[in-house]
C-alpha cells in the first residue's frame, strides 16, 4: 500500500493552529472592506456583456417585421434540432418570410450555431438567461416570444460583425 506522505511535516506553529486561524480571520476581515462582486439576484439583475450567449431571438426591424427570410439554415445546422421554420410567400421585396418559427427551448443548447450560419443577421443570441417553464408546450417559443426589437440586440449584432 502506498500511503500518501506530506511533502514536509507541519512546523510547531502550524501544528498548534491558532496562528493559522488568526491568519484566516484577517483575510476575511480585509475582504469585508473591499468592493463586492456578488449581485443580489433576483432583486438585482446581472446584465451580461455582448459576448454572452443567452436565448436565441429573432431580430425585428423598425417597421415591425422580422428580418428572417425562412431559409432554414438555422434549422439545418441546429445540432439538437430545436428550430422549426415554415416559410410562406410575402409581397415584400424579400419574397419569403417565416409563417412559423418555433424554437423548442427544451432542446436548445445555446451553442450559437444558428446566429453564426444566418445569412441575414436575423437570429442572434440575446442576453436573456431567465428561462423557466412548467410544461413541454410552454417551452415552445413561437414568433410572439422570439421577435425582439433590433435596438435591444444591437450590441450583439455589432459584436458579431466584429468577431464573426
Amino acid at each position: 500500500m502506498n500511503l500518501r506522505r506530506r511533502k514536509k511535516d507541519l512546523t510547531f506553529w502550524e501544528r498548534i493552529y491558532i496562528p493559522e486561524i488568526i491568519k484566516g480571520l484577517a483575510l476575511t476581515l480585509r475582504t469585508m472592506f473591499k468592493p463586492k462582486f456578488t449581485v443580489e439576484y433576483p432583486e438585482v439583475k446581472f446584465i451580461p456583456p455582448a459576448s454572452y450567449r443567452g436565448r436565441p431571438v429573432l431580430v425585428m426591424e423598425e417597421n415591425g417585421k422580422e428580418r428572417c427570410v425562412a431559409c432554414g439554415l438555422c434549422a439545418r445546422v441546429c445540432p439538437p434540432l430545436a428550430i422549426e421554420v415554415q416559410a410562406a410567400e410575402t409581397q415584400d421585396e424579400k419574397e419569403r418570410y417565416p409563417v412559423k418559427f418555433e424554437i423548442n427551448m427544451i432542446r436548445c443548447i445555446f451553442c450559437g450555431f444558428c446566429e453564426e450560419v444566418c445569412p441575414e443577421e436575423a437570429i442572434v443570441m440575446s442576453k436573456d438567461y431567465e428561462l423557466s417553464f412548467s410544461s413541454r408546450e410552454e417551452a415552445l417559443y413561437g414568433k410572439d416570444k422570439l421577435l425582439t426589437p433590433i435596438k435591444q440586440v444591437q450590441d450583439r449584432i455589432d459584436f458579431l460583425r466584429h468577431y464573426k
Binding site: 432554414g72 434540432l81 419574397e95 423548442n104 441575414e120
Partner: protein, 561 residues
C-alpha cells in the same frame, strides 16, 4: 471499337458520340449546365470546356465528336482554370438569393460553385437587375436574375413538348426569357422545365416555399394519374406528401412527366376527407368503429346473402396484390362469379407523348390478376343492370369512386341492401355505403402497378399510416424522421388508421375460416407469381426500380421518347 483517352482513362465510343456522351456512358460526368441527354446540343454555357491534345484552343465536350486516338484532359491546369473562369462569369450577375431560392440544396450552380469555382468574385460593380417573380404560366414562376441562359427550357418546349412558347429576348447581360406575346407557358408538360432548370430561375408555383429540399425524404414510386405509370419520386416531410418529381426510365417516361400527374395525384393524400379507421352506418350516419367489430359485423351481414346476390367491383386504382386477393375472396371464398371493374377512360386526356386515355394506373394489372367475370358471371354493366333489377342485393367495391365517375350509378347503388366499400377518402360512393374500410393510399403501400405497355412497376410506401414505422419498415428517412420524438410537432405528422386493401381482405377471409400466411405485400405477389403465368418468375427484387415487361401475348412496343 474506337477509343479515346480522358484524363488517362481509356473510353470506348461509337462513331458519332460526343466526348460528353461517351464519358457519361462510362460513368464519368464532365461538368455541364446546358447539355441534357434528351435535348439538342446548344453549347452556350461553356462550362464543359476540355483540353484536347493538338487542338489550338479548348473545346466544349458536349458538342465535340469523339474520334479515335483523341487525348482529352478535363482536369489539366488549362481546363480547370477555364472552368473557374466560366463559373466566375456565370456568377457575375447571379444574385445572392440562395436563402430565399427554392432550388437551394439541389442547385447545379451551387454545387459547381463549390466544386469548380475559386470561391471568390472580383466583380465589384452593381449587378444587373431584372424582374423577379414573373409568372410565366399557371404553374411556373420565373426569376430573371437567377437565369444563366442555358436555354434548356426553350429547347424543352421546342423539342419535347412540341409547343414552342419560350424564347430569349435582348442581348448580352440583359438577355432574358419571355413567352411569345399574348401567350403563357401552359403546355401540359410545362413543369418539366422546373426540373431541368439547373438554377432556381424556374420554380414550381405549387411547391413554392413549401419546404427546403433537404428536409424531405424521397421514395421511388410510380405516378397514379394514368396508365402510363411514369416513374416518380415522392417527396415527404412530416408524413405529408409535398411534391412529385419524375424519375428516369428510358422505356416509360424518360426524364419527364405531365403536369396533371405532378400536381393532381397526391393532394387527396393530405386531404382532411381521408377515411381514418373503419366506419359503419348507424341510423343514417357513418360511425367510427373498431377493426374487429367492423370486420365481424361485415362478415355476418354478408352471410345473409347467397353467392348469386353479391357483386364485386375491383379497382384499377388498387395494386395487383389488392385485386388478386379481392378476386380470391370473391371467387373462392364467397363463390361469386360477378366480379369486374370499372374502366376509367377520358378521351380528352390522352396525347401522343406520355398521357394515356386510360386514367387509372393499373387497369391492365386488374385484368391480369383475374379480377374479371368468371364463367357465366356478369361484367360491370351486367352487375349494374342486375342491381337495378334487384338480382344483386349486396355489392363490395374496392377503392373506386364509381358514383363520382358516373353520377347515374348513385341511383342504382341506392337500391342495394348492402354496400361495402374500401376507400381512401370519403366520397359520393362512401355516402351510400354501410361499411367503409380505410384503405391506405398508393403513397403508403407496397405493390405492383401494370402500365399500359404491360410493364410491372413497383410502388413503395413514402408516407406512413398508423401501423407503419418508418425505420422498421425500411421506408426512406429524412433527418427529421430519424431524430424526431413523439414530442416534436415536426415529427408527429398526421397518421391515419388505414391499411392496404389486401390486409383488410385477409382479415375478412380469416373470419371465413381461411388461414393465410401473408405478412407482407411481397408474399401476396409471390403467390401471384406462382399462380398466374404472366407473372412467373418475378419478385420485387427483379422488378426493381425500372420495372419489368410482362410476357403478354401481344407485347406493345415501348414508347419512343
Amino acid at each position: 471499337m474506337p477509343k479515346f483517352v480522358l484524363d488517362g482513362i481509356e473510353i470506348e465510343f461509337t462513331q458519332g458520340q460526343t466526348i460528353m456522351e461517351a464519358a457519361k456512358a462510362k460513368g464519368i460526368t464532365i461538368p455541364h449546365f446546358c447539355w441534357h441527354p434528351e435535348l439538342s446540343i446548344s453549347g452556350n454555357c461553356r462550362v464543359c470546356l476540355v483540353e484536347v491534345e493538338k487542338m489550338p484552343k479548348l473545346v466544349i465536350a458536349c458538342s465535340t465528336l469523339a474520334s479515335d486516338g483523341m487525348v482529352v484532359f478535363a482536369d489539366s491546369d488549362k481546363a480547370v482554370s477555364a472552368r473557374n473562369a466560366v463559373m466566375e462569369f456565370l456568377l457575375i450577375n447571379h444574385p445572392l438569393d440562395c436563402p430565399i431560392c427554392d432550388e437551394a440544396g439541389e442547385c447545379k450552380l451551387q454545387d459547381y460553385a463549390y466544386s469548380h469555382s475559386t470561391g471568390e468574385s472580383r466583380f465589384v460593380e452593381e449587378k444587373v437587375h431584372k424582374p423577379k417573380r414573373v409568372p410565366l404560366g399557371p404553374r411556373v414562376m420565373f426569376d430573371a436574375e437567377r437565369c444563366i441562359s442555358c436555354s434548356r427550357c426553350i429547347r424543352f418546349c421546342d423539342e419535347i413538348a412540341k409547343d414552342p412558347e419560350l424564347t430569349f429576348v435582348k442581348r448580352g447581360d440583359r438577355v432574358t426569357i419571355e413567352t411569345y406575346p399574348g401567350r403563357e407557358l401552359d403546355n401540359p408538360y410545362s413543369m418539366n422545365v422546373v426540373d431541368i432548370c439547373p438554377v432556381g430561375a424556374l420554380t414550381s408555383r405549387d411547391f413554392r416555399f413549401k419546404a427546403r429540399v433537404w428536409e424531405l425524404s424521397s421514395t421511388k414510386s410510380v405516378c397514379y394519374g394514368c396508365a402510363r405509370g411514369c416513374n416518380t419520386e415522392i417527396w415527404v416531410r412530416n408524413n405529408e406528401v409535398l411534391r412529385l418529381t419524375p424519375r428516369y426510365n428510358k422505356d416509360v417516361n424518360s426524364y419527364w412527366m405531365c403536369d396533371h400527374g405532378r400536381i393532381n395525384t397526391f393532394k387527396f393524400v393530405n386531404d382532411p376527407s381521408r377515411v381514418d379507421g373503419p366506419f359503419m352506418r348507424h341510423n343514417d350516419n357513418l360511425i367510427r368503429a373498431g377493426w374487429d367489430e367492423a370486420l365481424s359485423k361485415a362478415v355476418s351481414v354478408l352471410k345473409h346473402y347467397t353467392k348469386e346476390e353479391i357483386g364485386f367491383i375491383a379497382s384499377p386504382y388498387a395494386t395487383c396484390e389488392d385485386n388478386f386477393l379481392f378476386a380470391q375472396f370473391a371467387k373462392n371464398v364467397i363463390g361469386s362469379k360477378h366480379i369486374d371493374f370499372m374502366r376509367h377512360y377520358d378521351h380528352s386526356f390522352g396525347d401522343d407523348f406520355l398521357k394515356q386515355d386510360d386514367i387509372s394506373p393499373n387497369s391492365k394489372g386488374v385484368e391480369l390478376v383475374g379480377a374479371v367475370p368468371g364463367k357465366g358471371g356478369l361484367n360491370f354493366d351486367g352487375i349494374m343492370a342486375a342491381i337495378k333489377s334487384g338480382r344483386i342485393k349486396a355489392l363490395y367495391i374496392l377503392e373506386d369512386d364509381i358514383v363520382s365517375a358516373n353520377p347515374e350509378f348513385g341511383k342504382i347503388l341506392s337500391k342495394l341492401d348492402l354496400l361495402i366499400v374500401h376507400a381512401t377518402n370519403f366520397n359520393k360512393t362512401t355516402d351510400l355505403a354501410e361499411f367503409v374500410f380505410p384503405a391506405s393510399t398508393y403513397t403508403a403501400r407496397n405493390g405492383i402497378f401494370v402500365n399500359f405497355q404491360g410493364r410491372a412497376q413497383r410502388i413503395r410506401p413514402a408516407a406512413s399510416t398508423i401501423e407503419q414505422d418508418r425505420s422498421l419498415d425500411g421506408m426512406s428517412l429524412s433527418r427529421l424522421d430519424k431524430f424526431g420524438t413523439q414530442y416534436d410537432s415536426w415529427a408527429t405528422g398526421n397518421k391515419r388508421d388505414a391499411r392496404s386493401s389486401w390486409k383488410i381482405l385477409q382479415a375478412l377471409m380469416q373470419l371465413y375460416g381461411i388461414k393465410q400466411k401473408y405478412s407482407l405485400a411481397e408474399d401476396v405477389f409471390l403467390d401471384i407469381a406462382k399462380n398466374i403465368k404472366t407473372f412467373h418468375g418475378l419478385n420485387y427484387e427483379i422488378i426493381g426500380d425500372q420495372g419489368s415487361l410482362l410476357n403478354l401475348v401481344v407485347p406493345e412496343t415501348a414508347v419512343k421518347v
